[in-house]
Amino acid sequence: MRWIDAGALAVVAAGVMAGGWAQTSGPPAMPVPPPPVQVQPRFVVALDAAHGGSDTGARFGQDILEKDITLALSVHLRSLLHARGIEVVTTRESDIDVPLLNRAETANHAQAAACLVLHATPTGSGIHLFTSSLNPAPSARLLPWDTAQAPYITQSLKLESEIDTALAHSEIPVTLGRASVQPMDHLTCPEVAVEMAPLVGGHVSHPRDITDAAYQKQVVESLAAALEQWRSDWKQP
């Protein structure tokens, strides 16, 4: 069975940050207590533009592919987050195949405070938000690979609620659900899959296609606003 050492990276990071006073050489003549060090946790967002390369994802008509839409959303969202001073890691920046394992490792290595997995689909309406269908589990240093997300489920639901609120503020219809879609179960961060669908149905006053630039902009701006809010609300576990 594959395991993830959830504690090791945190220990290394804290050690490096505290290194200024930890690396003194030789015992001092008079023991001086070290000044209290406030280790500010890094706030990093991981963006996973789903699919890519030979994995096209869903098709929209003749020549529009999900992999291109998710990449465009990821690039746009990354630039909005950078503008807000938020550090971002992405699983891909071009049209390439990225194995699920590598996507999870990128997000986990970054010790992200939020992981968004971006998808798009031709059916339904508005934005579908999904969290992993795993049952919540207590945190542990060694996490089984297949259920690594379990200790983060409560945080993931809070992040989902934050995004739901931001989208509702923009009057974009949202459906919430739990799903078994990989690599979500392997991520060790608060995570939400954001699936964009066209705006259709009786309750939508202005139907919009998924490629509509104004609609995409509205979605990405809502996500950026939600992540900015999450930066204030997020507590490192």
């Binding site: 699919h51 994995d55 994802g57 869903a58 098709r59 999900e66 998808h119 798009a120 689909t121 031709p122 059916t123 339904g124 309406s125 579908h128 999904f130 269908s133 739901d164 989208l167 509702a168 009057e171 974009i172 219809p173 949202v174 459906t175 919430l176 659900g177 739990r178 799903a179 078994s180 879609v181 990989q182 899959a193 699936e195 669908a197 259709v200 149905g201 309750h203 939508v204 006053s205």
Partner: protein, 211 residues
Amino acid sequence: MITRGHKILFAVLLLACVAMAVALIRLRERAQDRLQAQAAEEPAAMTESAGSPPRIVTLYVPNDLDGSLTAVERSIPLPAGENAQARVLLESLIEAFAAPGTTHPISVASGINDVYFLPVPQGRGETKGQIAVVDLSGALAAAQPSGIEPETLTLLSMLATLHANLPSITQVHFLVDGQPRETLAGHADLTRTYLAAETNPQPSPVPGGTP
């Protein structure tokens, strides 16, 4: 030189070989009997279905616009035998996917190749009951719109329909054309076994309008 120890070891190994051969033959005979019994039962079930009185069943039909499942009652003749009943229930559900005004557009002639049952292996934390192995047709997987929501709703509607009408089914595993597959159409995980009572999603309030 052959010692007494070697002779004993040889005798023990020979005995073990014979015992294993007998056990294998027995297991093969039992598997053959089971297959024959199943083959004999199935045509009978099919003919019985045609003449059996209709029964009220509940189908859980997905609504892709709000991510919910709607309970719909139908009166359909159900054959004898849970395998055949599960297959008829799921075929009726798939027919409902293609009904006029559907928001879950899957249109396919035959979506289910077969349904068969396995006992739930009894271990720590396992529920009792049966695992239904649902063999979906490749045509259904090809007609399935790709996406987390549409694929998840297809699976959840099947789980809910089986759970409501055949409560002995506690877990469900999906195959496509008899083979294990990673996803239904690029998203929903088919490598895992689902609980039949897995979430029945409720529509969330729609902001800025009435659903």
